[in-house]
Symmetry: C2
Subunit: 327 residues, 2 copies
Amino acid sequence: MDLDAVRTFVAAADAGQFQDAAAALSITQQAVSKRIAALEKDLEVRLFNRTPRGAQLTIDGQTFLPHARELIRVAARADASVRPGRRALRVDVHSRRTAPAVVLHDFHRAYPRIDLDVVTLDADVHAAIAAVEAGAVDASFHAVPVRARHLPAAIRVVRVIDEHHDLLVGPRHPLANARAVTPAQLAAHRIWMPGMAPGTEWADYYDELAAAFGLTIDVVGPVFGNEALLAEIADSAHLATLAGERTRYLWPDSYDLRRVPVRDPAPIYPMSLIWRDDNPHPALVALREHLDSRHTRTRIPDAEVWLPRWGNTTVPPRPPMERGGTT
Amino acid sequence: MDLDAVRTFVAAADAGQFQDAAAALSITQQAVSKRIAALEKDLEVRLFNRTPRGAQLTIDGQTFLPHARELIRVAARADASVRPGRRALRVDVHSRRTAPAVVLHDFHRAYPRIDLDVVTLDADVHAAIAAVEAGAVDASFHAVPVRARHLPAAIRVVRVIDEHHDLLVGPRHPLANARAVTPAQLAAHRIWMPGMAPGTEWADYYDELAAAFGLTIDVVGPVFGNEALLAEIADSAHLATLAGERTRYLWPDSYDLRRVPVRDPAPIYPMSLIWRDDNPHPALVALREHLDSRHTRTRIPDAEVWLPRWGNTTVPPRPPMERGGTT
DNA sequence: CGGCAGCCACAACCAGACGTTGTGTGGGTA
DNA sequence: TACCCACACAACGTCTGGTTGTGGCTGCCG
């Protein structure tokens, strides 16, 4: 199936005759005739009833028409996703299941007209910053444990999401029915977070959290996927894991897992939006305004939150977006 | 953009190198190289980083990949929609807003794996039967005011949907807060159904209904679309219209329209499924079973319903599906 | 350190696809 | 009956897109 033939088919269906479709496509009537004949031969079906007064769609043609339109629509989107200069807003998230992805989904619902491409570079902060600087992505959500003066000049970094944590436990766990839990309380329990590779930002964060409150965070064990992890936790009276408040999982209700907020202090994983100051993409402005208008920053007073050491050094808390917030 | 090039791109992305992709596509490595080079030139973007050990996707390539997959998926669906022998189940409905379309939507949700094409032939019963007989569509929903013995031999007709009626009124209408309304009560009110062209099955039905209960059904007036009709009714203290119970409209909540069931007797618009007995399409069986399992037939006792004259002559009520129901 | 293996790009060549011009056919119309 | 209109068929030239053959680059290993 040839996309040009499909486009020609749509043009002919809209025009009601090959002649006009040919004019619209700036080709000859004979070329239209051949293209559609080729498409019909390819699909092994007749799409038009030719008459001396034009061409009417057959029933098969009527059926094919919406699919054909969809096809060229998708092709246009695919094209727009990468073509330089007019491509969709491309935002890098560290994982498709964590808060930035959820926030972007929210953004997409709020602005369905804006073409958005969410990519996962699988890169650390520095590589992400380099990608933004190179223009490969328009923006990236990341924890940025780097002082602003060490960043490239064109790069802007603003803390936009404060992710709280919930304890995820099964119904038999002693904390299953707690309204909230303090980090100090967690010291008595084993927390299991398999697949937290050492050296990553996440591992650093949980190492620091564990050290600060004397927690036992277990990162060993093979990774069988979230499904297996959740099933295991649901069954266990001892195992628990930490999850970002906005984290989405494949979450079969049958597991009956409980989310218990961690508070007093509330450990926060602060994430920033990274972008180039001179990126002219109009949707980038919309995204920043959206982040500003949603309450993605914590409402808990500073005295009642816990941040990693770098959490306070990156950018000033709640910076005015206009000034870019690079301190 | 060439679909073959897109397919090649996906194959190369999956394989991680052009060589293997070429083998998978039964072409030479050079052809793969050329196709992807052509695609890159077309999109004006580099999709792969070529290395002596293979080819890795660039960020643009990563972004393009899901769009590419979607594109070939849509192309496959478009192909499957018409290709003889393996095409999607094609069902004709008289209108996309009436009960059969709603029921089909329900069917699609119940069996998302089944490819379904809903078409609107804009044909009367006889043309629809001819289309089914010719195999142009697999099935058609229609009111069938024809005795079965006058139908072609291969055609099966089973009454599957009994559509009740609601009165649609604005908040100022005297019947706005009624729990139900009888046809006799409606005689005192003006009912407006613009766009009911004379000679159609619907017009015949409402003519007969009007005659049976002495109603005033007004079919004159220009048709400005449902939107305008609903707005007009919402504003009026006198106007009302009849709508099938399962009818969907563009229905802005702000209109505050009320649906009042018509009962005692309940006028029913009976619709049948028409199909060819020898149609081997497996999804057709699923559709018939689905219709059988849902309560699309009325639960109101026969004594409390009103049917048009032809309503009882078409097929026996609640025929066992196994025997086809052509009486 | 040099040869080798693996992978991709470039060049030359050829077949076939595709568009053009020119012409034929059929049905409705003046 | 002659004409008009719309599409199909035929012939021809161009150019796309495939193949084979070859070269360059890089990493590995003897």
